[in-house]
């Protein structure tokens, strides 16, 4: 039987494809006639926010993206950064927010699958993964179900595929109640002379379909990922896809074998709007036309229309331009791995994107225009307001400092995430030097004696909400700090910008301001943005999420024998605060959790100071003065000290010069670290900091089995641990008290 590919183009149909009037006019001009149904689908896929970045492009261009270490910046499947000795690290972060809210397990799983594919499409073997998660408030009825599904899905895919998950974030906030965030990061390792890109070269060459068969999965998914949620969410359900990590693992091995065989000219994974985006990308990049014969596409469902095949988001698929003489060898590799391999098209010199189905032409469009001439908007935006500073005396001190500290480290946003990361394989590949629980994940560079890579994912949404510019800076600065704290030199970063509806000037303003902050920080801290992803329209019934520009940073450790950890301080070590006494309590967890308020400005970041202190701490770690190190972030100095005590099992005796005790202990002033130093080196360390002009304070020593701070805090480490470890398991088991 033949499938009907025709369908009248009505105004409603156009609207349902998320195409507005002007856009449709432009489509008519470029198509030079009324588009066919299949063509309309293709245009909408290429022009929706998800694929075209039409609202964000203008601003993304302002981010610093190069540096001597950058091999490929944004634009490829993932960023590529030189780490020396002929090795490169390939990484990117991507969101799967909407699918994960609809079907948490599969949504999160396919999110991980997608980002892994982005990395190995370029020829890199994935070596590390992270996941940045934001959920609604714990007592929202949906939250527990979403947490368990998302975490199981991330583990289910990553563990089976075989990549260690070495870091991430989990936050809970009311503003994510109807729109959670699942941002997945992956990094891979490759040789600098064996990187593959999507730019096709050569006319008349076979275009090959690789991997799993095509079904109706996610037809319209790309359109959904850019649509605001409303109560009619159920209708969107069929677009959820099921991931198959087993096939993905086979695809990885097959692709790496294929690349080694020299058969690959260009390769591109099929992500959103699979066949359409990948084919157009290859052609447009290489100034070539592409002709596809859909009758040759491996399908797993009957009577699929051209429209469905072109927009299907079935997972674990790739498109490749092949060296013809290598076809048999290439086919053999894919047969060995039990994967489909089909020549489905050819490259042409006419710059047309031509689709045949059942021996009929169902689409014939200008490929460059599809790829490059997507609309670009300068959406109206308003500069976000800022808050005047708030002095410490404006904040009530706690009645009991020990109780406040215990409460904080046992609160949803500060408690241990062990329940989460023990469901992830953190050890596979035998290279994990630091697993979750410290400041950054660290993995060895295989084949290298001493080199290692560090990974951290960071953003503090409540800061961004209060001041998008400072919040943007802070996200990068905290990422920088987490890398430094392990002894890594920050190299570059990827971003995942999660915001609400960009058609609202306030939201657009937050977006613009945070990008300005991110850009300045990346510039000042030498961390260019080499890849990224934008997720807009994160709103439910008109309420937007907290603005959440997640930053994924990568750093290099030349010799992991000189690496620092959070928990390696030894009895008798001297504890130094790098930085000064805290005074900033606005937008802190102390304010939110203890005082029940969220107001005022976030702590500002002085980027020059950030860099100076970072370089000082890095030097101290590299020269092995630091027996342990931890940056000070959420919850301030007291929480950071508690985290070090819990990690080492030792107590600490601290005597601080204090003006405002609650600010000194819980203030979240930026650019600060705690460094533990063997007492025989303590004076030397102090002298060095004097010399380098970095402010520091000798705050105490590692001792006993309790954390003691002046006459304010005195808590047994065991007690801290219990409070820290108990919330998550309790919450997930549905027990009260969580």
């Amino acid at each position: 039987m033949t499938v009907n590919n025709t369908h009248p183009i009505t105004e409603e149909l156009i609207r349902n494809h998320g195409i507005n009037a002007e856009e449709y006019q432009r489509i008519l001009e470029l198509t030079e006639r009324e588009p066919s149904f299949t063509e309309l689908g293709i245009w909408s896929a290429m022009w929706n926010e998800h694929c075209s970045y039409k609202s964000s492009k203008k601003w993304l261009k302002t981010l610093p993206t190069d540096g001597p270490q950058v091999v490929y910046g944004p634009g490829e499947n993932a960023g590529v950064v030189d780490i020396g000795d002929g090795d490169v690290v390939v990484f990117k972060m991507e969101s799967h927010n909407h699918p994960s809210f609809i079907e948490p397990y599969q949504g999160a799983a396919t999110g991980v699958g997608g980002i892994l594919r982005d990395v190995f499409t370029m020829g890199a073997r994935p070596i590390a993964a992270m996941n940045a998660l934001r959920f609604g408030e714990p007592d929202n009825p949906k939250t527990r179900h979403l947490v368990s599904g998302v975490v199981a899905g991330i583990g289910g895919y990553g563990n089976s595929f075989g990549v260690p998950t070495v870091g991430g974030e989990v936050n809970f906030h009311r503003r994510y109640n109807g729109n959670i965030l699942v941002n997945a990061f992956a990094a891979g390792l490759a040789k600098s002379d064996a990187i593959y890109v999507s730019k096709a070269e050569g006319v008349g060459l076979p275009v090959v379909y690789l991997g799993a068969k095509t079904g109706r999965d996610g037809v319209g998914g790309a359109t959904m990922a850019s649509a605001e949620f409303d109560e009619s969410i159920d209708e969107k359900r069929p677009t959820v896809q099921v991931g198959d990590p087993f096939t993905e693992k086979c695809l990885l091995e097959a692709c790496l074998e294929l690349m080694a065989s020299g058969a690959v000219i260009a390769i591109q994974d099929m992500g959103a709007a699979g066949l359409t985006c990948s084919a157009v990308e290859m052609g447009a990049r290489g100034d070539l036309g592409i002709e596809l014969d859909l009758d040759k596409v491996p399908v797993r469902e009957e009577n699929m229309t051209a429209y469905e095949m072109m927009l299907s988001e079935s997972q674990e698929r790739m498109l490749m331009v092949l060296r013809p003489e290598k076809e048999d060898e290439a086919k053999a590799i894919f047969t060995k791995w039990g994967l489909d391999f089909a020549v489905v098209g050819v490259t042409t010199d006419n710059l047309r994107f031509r689709i045949l189905h059942q021996a009929e032409e169902v689409a014939n469009l200008p490929i460059k225009q599809l790829g490059d001439e997507a609309p670009e908007y300068d959406r109206p935006w308003v500069e976000p307001g800022t808050h005047s500073p708030m002095e410490p005396h404006l904040f009530a001190p706690p009645d009991d400092y020990s109780a406040a500290l215990l409460y904080l480290i046992g609160s949803p946003d500060l408690c241990s995430r062990r329940w989460v990361w023990e469901q992830y394989d953190t050890l596979i590949q035998s290279n994990s030097l630091q697993i979750p629980g410290g400041d950054a994940g660290v993995v060895r560079v295989e084949g290298h004696e001493t080199k290692a890579l560090a990974f951290s994912s960071d953003v503090t949404p409540r800061y961004v909400e209060a001041d998008a510019y400072e919040g943007g800076k802070q996200a990068v600065a905290e990422c920088f700090r987490n890398l430094i704290a392990t002894g890594a030199r920050p190299l570059a970063a990827t971003d995942n910008l999660n915001f609400g509806n960009p058609e609202k000037p306030e939201i657009m303003g937050t977006f613009v301001a945070s990008i300005r902050g991110i850009g300045e920080a990346c510039e000042a801290l030498g961390m260019p943005i080499v890849s990224g992803n934008v997720s807009l329209y994160n709103e439910t019934n008109g309420e937007a999420i907290l603005p959440t520009p997640t930053i994924g940073g990568v750093g290099v450790i030349e010799d992991w024998n000189a690496m620092a950890r959070i928990g390696t301080a030894d009895e008798g070590d001297v504890l130094f605060l790098v930085g000064t006494e805290a005074t900033h309590l606005a937008q802190t967890l102390y304010q939110r959790e203890i005082l029940g308020e969220e107001s005022g400005p976030p702590p500002p970041v002085d980027l020059q100071m950030e860099r100076a202190r970072g370089e000082f701490v890095l030097a101290a770690i590299k020269t092995q003065y630091a027996s342990a190190c931890h940056d000070i972030s959420d919850g301030g100095l007291a929480v950071a000290l508690a985290e070090m005590c819990m990690a080492s099992g030792y107590g600490a005796r601290c005597d601080l010069n204090i003006t405002y005790p609650h600010a000194a202990l819980f203030g979240e002033d930026q650019s600060r670290y705690i460094v533990a130093v063997d007492d025989q080196w303590a004076d030397m360390f102090a002298a060095n900091s004097e010399g380098s002009g970095v402010s520091f304070e000798r705050i105490g020593t590692v001792a006993g089995d309790a954390l003691i701070i002046n006459d304010l805090v005195d808590i047994k480490v065991e007690t801290l641990k219990n409070a820290h470890e108990s919330w998550f398991p309790k919450f997930m088991s549905g027990q009260p008290g969580a």
């Binding site: 079907e103 079904g215 999965d217 099921v242 198959d244 087993f246 096939t247 079935s314």
Partner: protein
């Protein structure tokens, strides 16, 4: 009115068109084990539920509520129920 005991079977299967990686793998394995008569395999779940309810009808209502709430992931799965007892 006293409750009666019922034995129910709840079948949870993937919706048509939803990819079934397990079924696919099993199909492949059966073929390579020489069962070449096998055309397709889809894997689903079956729950044997013992429950007490006032009537068969009440039991069925409870069971479909259980499916909606927990047993089935209605985003990708269908369910069917048979009650005996």
């Amino acid at each position: 009115m006293a409750d009666k005991q019922f034995q129910a079977k709840v079948f949870v299967t993937l919706k048509n068109g939803v990819l079934d990686p397990q079924g696919k793998a099993i199909e492949g394995s059966l073929n390579s084990l020489g069962f070449d008569g096998v055309d397709s395999v889809r894997q689903g779940k079956v729950f044997d539920v013992a429950l007490s309810a006032t009537s068969k009808k009440a039991a069925e209502e409870q069971l479909s509520a259980m499916c909606e709430k927990l047993l089935a992931n209605t985003v990708v799965e269908d369910y069917s129920i048979t009650v005996s007892g």
